[in-house]
């Protein structure tokens, strides 16, 4: 895997295929917890770490246990059990060894079991047959994308609370409309991906090639027809 591949995977996971804004995974916690900056960052960091650990563990179980035993259809049950127990273990470990972190992140951990971003990323990684390295980068990028959008969104929402929003739109409706504008912004990142750029350049070269030939009269007629 070259550095170019690594950057491509990371950028597409963080920006282009953002878990929240383009794949709609974890929107419930996104709307619920993003009211203040502190909560949003706390939830975001917990999600990053749980997604990363859970995806690695479920990927290993899927490829080395379920596939070997021909029990692939059990993946949903196995994955959700693994995630639920992982979250429990992480909670106990943090409580024991880093009590200060537990105080700030502890309340978010039980919520993460039912956060669809965790199960969604784990399932997508195995459904798309990703290699180990690709899966690692994909899980990390998805988590970072979640954290990034949570943070931006919480800043906007803090500011929104001070503004005079129409009564009917207060709370969740206006938050969804802000999310819509954010999604428009994020959808513009599609051009960043090197693959897309190459395709665009190829198309351009093709157009130039075509135009260098002297256009016949029929060409202009056809052109006029399509415009009309």
């Amino acid at each position: 895997m070259t550095i170019r591949d690594i950057i491509t995977i990371l950028i597409s996971a963080i920006l282009i295929e953002n878990v929240l804004l383009s794949q709609f995974l974890g929107v419930c916690s996104f709307l619920g917890v993003s009211k203040s900056r502190k909560n949003a960052v706390g939830m975001g960091i917990s999600v990053v770490s749980v997604i990363l650990i859970a995806t690695v563990v479920t990927w290993l179980i899927y490829n080395y246990v379920l596939k070997a035993l021909d029990l692939v259809y059990l993946r949903t049950i196995v994955f959700i059990l693994v995630i639920a127990s992982l979250v429990q273990i992480i909670e106990i470990l943090i409580k024991k060894f880093v009590p200060s972190l537990y105080k700030s992140l502890g309340i978010y951990l039980p919520l993460i079991t039912t956060n669809c971003a965790v199960l969604g990323v784990a399932l997508k990684a195995v459904n798309n047959d990703l290699s180990f390295g690709h899966m690692l980068l994909y899980a990390f990028g998805s988590g970072i994308g979640f954290l990034l959008v949570m943070y931006i969104f919480s800043l906007i929402r803090e500011e929104l609370d001070k503004r005079n929003v129409p009564k009917a739109m207060r709370g969740v409706p206006i938050a969804l409309i802000v999310a819509s504008i954010l999604a428009i912004l994020f959808s513009r990142y599609v051009g960043i991906s090197p693959k897309e750029k190459e395709i665009k350049l190829e198309n351009k070269a093709h157009v130039i090639e075509v135009m260098e030939e002297i256009p016949s009269e029929k060409y202009f007629e056809d052109l006029g027809g399509t415009i009309r």
Partner: protein, 222 residues
């Protein structure tokens, strides 16, 4: 609460999506066509009804209830995940196109807050028959919400209403008559957020108006 009230509550009074704001993820992701919304409704209603039934049956017996108390969430999740796996397998075998277009969101019914929420809040405290009714009304109420959103998105986004595979209402003629193109923005992810936000805003406005009217009536009476 009578059975009839119990049955009707999921549609308006306690609509899982519009009032309780649960299950937003599939409501945004799969509502690009009415067909998807119908498929999701069937899968979801099946899961939530049967999970309610089994969970209320487990809780019927005092002894078992006390026994599973500390691990009840894990038990509920396993029951729900089993039902979801059944739906997945049936759908993959008989409706492969629908299975592909719903994608990972069929499996994600497992972590849908509505299913686990009903199990904990309703089915674990009520009799099996009431729990079944609760499951059906929650499933269909959620389906109604999905249908409204997907109808708006598909009509504005592509000008057709796909009900089931070939059964399609073509309204592109309407756009041609007005000399405009369907707005493909509504098929994108940003359009999903916008439609859900506006629908919720309208519902909140209606609710505010009702509250104000009842308040005025009370003032007049006094």
């Amino acid at each position: 609460m009578t059975r009839k009230e119990n049955f009707l509550k999921g549609f308006f009074k306690e609509n899982p999506l519009f009032v309780l704001l649960l299950g937003c993820c599939p409501a945004l992701a799969i509502t690009t066509s009415v067909e998807n919304a119908i498929g999701m409704t069937i899968a979801f209603t099946f899961v939530v009804t049967l999970s309610n039934l089994f969970i209320s049956l487990i809780n019927l017996n005092e002894k078992i209830r006390e026994f599973i108390r500390p691990i009840r969430i894990a038990v509920y999740i396993v029951i729900i995940a089993t039902l979801v796996t059944i739906v997945e397998m049936v759908m993959e075998a008989y409706l492969p196109e629908l299975y592909n277009s719903l994608g990972v969101f069929i499996s994600l019914i497992t972590v849908n807050c509505i299913v686990l929420g009903r199990a904990e809040a309703y089915a674990s405290k009520n009799k099996p028959l009431d729990s079944i009714i609760d499951g059906i009304t929650m499933g269909l109420g959620y389906g109604l919400a999905l249908l409204i959103i997907s109808f708006i998105r598909e009509f504005l986004g592509s000008g057709t209403i796909t009900i089931w595979k070939e059964l399609k209402i073509d309204l592109t003629g309407l756009y041609k008559a007005l000399n405009i193109e369907p707005i493909s923005f509504f098929k994108s992810s940003a359009g999903a957020f916008l439609v859900l936000g506006i629908v919720l805003g309208i519902l909140q406005a209606i609710k505010n108006r009702k509250a104000r009217k009842t308040k005025e009536k009370r003032v007049v009476k006094e």
